[in-house]
Amino acid sequence: MTAQTDSTATSRLQRDVMRFTRRFRTATIGIIFVLLVITGAIFAPIVTPYNPTMPRIPERFERPSLRHMLGTDDLGRDIAARVLYGARTTLTAGFASVLLAVLLGGAVGILAGYLGGWVDNLLMRAMDIILSFPAILLSILIVASLGPGMVNLILAIAFSLVPSFARMVRSVVLGIVTQEHITAAQALGAGGAHIIRLHLIPNTLPVLLVQATATMAVAISTGAALNYLGLGVEPPMPDWGLMVSEGQKHVFSAAYIPLIPGVFITLTVLSVNFVGDALRDFLDPVLKR
């Protein structure tokens, strides 16, 4: 009996996955690419025999070959190895900043929407002020103030992303606080924390997921840009944005050095965009076209 239910459950899951992959082919490609990059980043020491930071001067400026699949840079470091290790900083910055922004923005949005009144006004005006800066400028201001480094990079990206999450969650919350089941819960004497935990948070999760995925693309780009400007992680730590800026001086003689890491930034952001698009279509059929 148990075995039977298990097998039907599996086949249903299989069917769902099949349907998703058929309907969202590009998203599937995107997911596979991101998973590949994540796996490569985690198992980098196993995947590549090369050290990403140690210079090997006799092997510098080697074009892509069987020995060095993506060639070597101006210090003779294997570019493929640097791409694999660099994925760690790039992806960590992207994921962590979005996670932080979701938590902060979600909290602000729920408090503003649920409490209303002057709390709502105060919080939303604060969000407006953050939004009156171009996002990348705000991130630059914050890293300029906090100094370089991974944690500061994450904080800087997250801060500029908070308002969009806050606004969205607030609008969702405003839409549901007046519904009957909330009124009923309040009538039964449910406290604010209870309502937020059991009614508001679950209802905001789908939109948060869509927004978070779409924002991830922005966050990865922003992180890469800050690293490119030299305001993020510090050399010799490998990072895709940093690799582009370090390789830029060889644009006339060995253009592959700055170009290759950028290909990986673009493909990763593109993959995330594919997934974000599919999720939005999936959860919001009205927008589908």
């Binding site: 407006d128 002020i129 953050i130 009156s132 800066f133 171009p134 996002a135 990348i136 400028l137 630059i140 201001l141 914050i142 300029a144 103030s145 906090l146 100094g147 693309a217 780009s221 890469a224 840009a225 490119y228 400007l229 030299g230 305001l231 944005g241 582009v244 800026s245 830029q248 644009v251 006339f252 253009a255 700055p258 170009l259 950028g262 930034i265 673009t266 493909l267 952001v269 593109l270 965009n273 594919f274 698009d277 076209r289």
Partner: protein
């Protein structure tokens, strides 16, 4: 009218908030730029003199009051490293950045709207698929990297376009407004103008391509939306050529959301200009900002951030108000 007035009344408050946030971010956070000067192991006396000169010996509240009063008098402070008044630096640096952002906006609007129409008209056919994938690719490419790709293709391989600076070195031109296009048109200096435009093309393309991707998608969606409307069907039914149906009936209404988006996009383009200037050694606000950060010249950082954000706020305000003027449905709200 009432709407425009309310928005205008809010403007000083928004600008004050922008200035205050910038001031606060650079001072209240531990390990801020102004502390670095004191970690340089200079003689005590020199540090004291430096502190007094930059008001750093006073409490933050007094610094803030002095800062606000300076701002109200149009004084952005003095550069710590070059002792030049920042207001003068701004005269040098604002026009190049605006040039880039505006050119990028024009290019991205042109490419985006055109591609969006093509995509909508050929909906779900091969060409539509190509345009849609390209626009998504365009949205995903980071500015600084597409800038390098453009350099490799057009300057290194094809050798058709120059890289670096706003104009060929050694070329003579007269400075009036410091907006090169305007100055050169006024003085009818065609040789310099052509050189400047050729220098302008790659950086603004690098900034604009990302926005062009967004605009393509938006235009496509907006066009598809209006193409299903009754008045478009009527236009078709009365036998108008398809071209007129698309350009005169559908496009006019379809473009409204695109216009608003262009306004919002200006901030992104300004940000893009800040980054792309670094790649092309373009002497604008982005270069100034990054140099300020690297040299710990925090009055320059502070002034640049405030100026860029203020430009952004004012452009958004203008677009918003214009939008209300253009669209009669929004009047009286």
């Amino acid at each position: 009218m009432k709407y425009a007035l309310t928005r205008l009344l809010w403007l000083p408050i928004v600008l004050w908030a922008v200035a205050t946030l910038t001031f606060g971010a650079l001072r209240l956070v531990p390990g801020n730029a102004s502390d670095v000067i004191f970690s340089l192991n200079l003689p005590q006396e020199q540090v004291e003199r430096f502190k007094a000169q930059w008001n750093l010996d006073k409490p933050v509240s007094q610094q803030y009051v002095a800062f606000l009063s300076d701002m109200l008098h149009g004084d952005l402070g003095t550069s710590m490293t070059s002792a030049v008044p920042i207001t003068r630096l701004m005269y040098e640096r604002i026009p190049p950045t605006i040039e880039l952002a505006v050119t990028a906006m024009v290019l991205s609007a042109f490419i985006g709207v055109l591609a969006g129409i093509v995509s909508a008209v050929t909906r779900n056919r091969a060409l539509d698929f190509v345009v849609r994938s390209t626009s998504l690719l365009g949205m995903s490419v980071p500015w600084f990297w597409i800038a390098i790709v453009l350099i490799v293709v057009f300057a290194v391989q094809l050798r058709v376009l120059p890289v670096g600076g706003r104009i060929e070195g050694g070329m003579n031109y007269e400075r009036i407004t410091n907006f090169m296009v305007i100055d050169m048109l006024m003085t009818k200096n065609w040789a310099a103008l052509s050189s400047h435009l050729r220098h302008l093309l790659l950086p603004s393309l690098a900034i604009g391509l990302t926005s062009a991707g967004f605009i393509t998608r938006l235009t496509r969606a907006a066009m598809l939306e209006v193409m299903n409307r009754d008045y478009v069907r009527t236009a078709r039914a009365k036998g108008l050529p398809e071209r007129r149906v698309i350009f005169q009936h559908a496009l006019r209404n379809g473009l409204l959301p695109v216009l608003t988006f262009l306004g919002l996009q200006f901030g992104t383009l300004l940000g893009g200009a800040v980054i792309t200037e670094i790649v092309f050694s373009w002497p604008g606000l982005g270069r100034l900002l990054l140099d300020g950060i690297l040299r710990r010249d925090y009055p320059v950082v502070q002034a640049t951030v405030i100026v860029v954000a203020s430009i952004y706020v004012m452009v958004n305000l203008t677009i918003d108000v214009l939008y209300h003027v253009i669209d009669p449905r929004l009047r009286g709200r």
